[in-house]
């Protein structure tokens, strides 16, 4: 990758292109409880047409939102585009390395670390392996922000445009 990504300030174009190119998301640290943040994000992304693949070794044998829960990324059969990490910054490093390892066989294109989760060393390793990385952000919030849905809740999307928007719905 030639373009150097500034992880303190992502451009809208970078996030938009990434979110538009991804179709399936493995969610590491996925909770089966409806009122946990990871569940909120999975539910929203699923509604928007993404396939979500929950990963949580403590919830194997269960289903979340109709999807089988896997113990690890390696156990997910078939390809997936992105890994969304709901673990602390240190564990996120290990998860990122696992994803880099699997990137070739599973066609993984991107690593996303949730709000408050940031591991710059791991991000550099993933980028060196050709993956795209977003840290300390939430894909639900960014999808909503870039598609004017966040604005419905009174939030400052920082998006200004005189164009008629097209919402990507399911």
């Amino acid at each position: 990758m030639s373009e150097k990504i500034d992880h303190d300030s992502y451009s809208d174009a970078y996030l938009r292109t990434l979110l538009n190119s991804v179709k399936s998301v493995a969610v590491v640290g996925a909770s089966p409880n409806w009122n946990r943040p990871s569940y909120f994000v999975m539910k929203y992304l699923q509604d928007k047409g993404y396939r979500i693949l929950p990963v949580n070794p403590r919830a194997t044998g269960e289903e979340i939102l109709g999807e089988k829960v896997y113990a690890s990324l390696a156990e997910i059969p078939g390809d997936f585009d992105m890994v969304d990490i709901f673990r602390n910054s240190e564990v996120a490093g290990t998860v990122t390395d696992e994803a880099v390892e699997l990137a070739g066989s599973k066609n993984i294109k991107a690593i996303w670390m949730q709000l408050t989760v940031r591991n710059d060393d791991a991000a550099a390793r993933a980028e060196a392996a050709g993956l795209q990385v977003v840290m300390d952000r939430c894909p639900k919030i960014e999808f909503g922000r870039l598609n004017s849905e966040l604005s419905w809740g009174g939030f400052n999307s920082k998006v200004i445009s005189a164009k008629r928007r097209k919402v990507r719905i399911g």
Binding site: S9, Y39, S148, S151, W152, F155, S161, K163, R165
Partner: protein, 430 residues
């Protein structure tokens, strides 16, 4: 949480565009007035997701409404905050702001120089919720430090205080609030985000009476609470409503789930849901129109006000003028620091004949309207001690800058010479 706070667009662009893209179905360019109570669900599953706050969307206009949402994003953008919650009035905004922070028995510190209605709301009505306020003279920040107690949940001041000429030292106050682990709440009604941006000085929440300069035309009551998104609600155990499982929302932890969007989500999902102080869509629309010209109007408001203040200061029958735009004001230095583009258009003065002569001036004006509002395109005049600050004791009135001889002006956008001539004839009449 490192949301990108960089400002890509200038203030004037945001006052016209922020929050308002063309309506996606029809292409309507101006914001439609969604005079509508409720919104059709796709299916039962969609309804459940909305009620669980798992997806963005509209349920019922007590909580959110598309027209009101445009104004919310507009004001949040102008203040450079994370989000905002509009509501029925400035007083509703104050109630909404404290509602998320306070438990019965908690206290907060407020400036003793506030709009008289706020002093009454805090001191008398909030008492019924067992919320206790301590009014202090915030000109000396040490008074605020001395008043801090473990149950204190916030510090509240007006950036530019109503009725006149007083400016709060926001940076000093925000340092005290930070040390105490509590938010600084700033009422920015009189300055507007064009003149003063409290978040840049460390404030955590801003409240507005949008009734005033933001609508700017005296048509619509309204209020707004803006959250900076910068306050860490989990840094101590003072804010269980935001950072602990919330019993009013099936044990949801708002801060953990929504991060820097927690306050604004809470203010809609619980605040407006249960207090019911919603802004009407028509009022939101009128206020959106007002925001579109805010910078232009504030420039003229300030210019006219400064000239009128200078005229009054030089008038032989005028005893004193309290206007931070004047070099003679003890708050002039603070005005230059916090609102360098102008010190607003509301200020006070007294005539030499005291109370009786003051009443006479108010009643003799032809162009100035004698009424209880500020921030209108029209110039307004009022005697606070007998009106807006009437419920206060004489001691409180004097502390608030609303003593018996005080006349308050809100300078409008009329021709300057006409305003000066009207005041001149009214003073000569007194």
């Amino acid at each position: 949480m490192s949301q990108d706070k960089s400002q890509k667009f200038g203030f004037e662009t945001r006052m016209i565009h922020a929050g308002a893209q063309p309506e996606p179905v029809t292409g309507a360019r101006q914001t439609p007035i969604h005079q509508n109570t409720s919104y059709v669900f796709h299916d039962a599953e969609h309804a459940a997701s909305l009620f669980n706050l798992q997806t963005f969307g509209f349920i019922y206009s007590r909580l959110t409404n598309p027209t009101v949402a445009v104004l919310e994003e507009r004001i949040a953008s102008l203040e450079d905050g994370r989000g905002s919650t509009c509501c029925a009035s400035g007083h509703a905004a104050q109630l909404l702001a404290f509602f998320a922070l306070m438990e019965p028995g908690d206290s907060f510190i407020a400036s003793n120089r506030l709009y008289g209605g706020s002093i009454t709301q805090f001191g008398k009505t909030f008492k019924k919720f067992d919320w206790r306020v301590k009014f202090v003279d915030v000109d000396d920040p040490q008074n605020v430090r001395d008043a801090l107690t473990p149950d204190c949940k916030a510090i509240f001041v007006e950036s530019l205080a109503n009725p006149g000429g007083v400016i709060s030292d926001l940076e000093a106050l925000s340092n005290i609030a930070k040390d105490a682990g509590i938010p600084l709440i700033v009422d920015n009604t009189m300055a507007t985000p064009y003149l003063c941006r409290p978040f840049e000085w460390g404030a955590d929440l801003v409240v507005h009476s949008t009734t005033k300069f933001l609508s700017g035309n005296g048509t619509s009551l309204g209020g707004c609470v803006v959250d900076s998104g910068n306050f860490d609600w989990a840094q101590n155990d003072k804010f269980p409503g935001l950072a602990a499982p919330e019993p009013a929302y099936h044990g949801l932890n708002f801060y953990e789930t929504f991060g820097d969007m927690a306050f604004t989500t809470h203010a809609h999902a619980i605040g407006l849901r249960d207090l019911g102080s919603t802004m009407a869509p028509m009022n939101a629309f009128q206020t959106i129109l007002g925001c579109e010209t805010l910078a232009l109007r504030m420039e003229r408001h300030c210019e006219n006000a400064k000239k009128v203040a200078e005229f009054l200061e030089g008038h032989p029958a005028v005893a004193w003028v309290s206007c931070a735009a004047l070099p003679s004001s003890p708050y002039h230095a603070l005005a230059q620091k916090y609102m360098p583009k102008g010190a607003g258009s509301v200020f006070t003065f007294g005539v030499k004949g005291g109370y009786d002569a003051g009443i006479k001036v108010v009643e003799s004006c032809e162009i100035f309207s004698h009424l209880a509002n500020i921030g209108d395109a029209r110039s307004l005049i009022l005697h606070p001690a007998s009106t807006t600050h009437r419920q206060l004791s004489e001691e409180q009135q004097n502390a608030a800058g609303a003593g018996p001889d005080v006349i308050r002006l809100s300078i409008g956008l009329e021709t300057l010479d006409d305003l000066i001539a009207d005041l001149d004839q009214a003073i000569s009449n007194a």
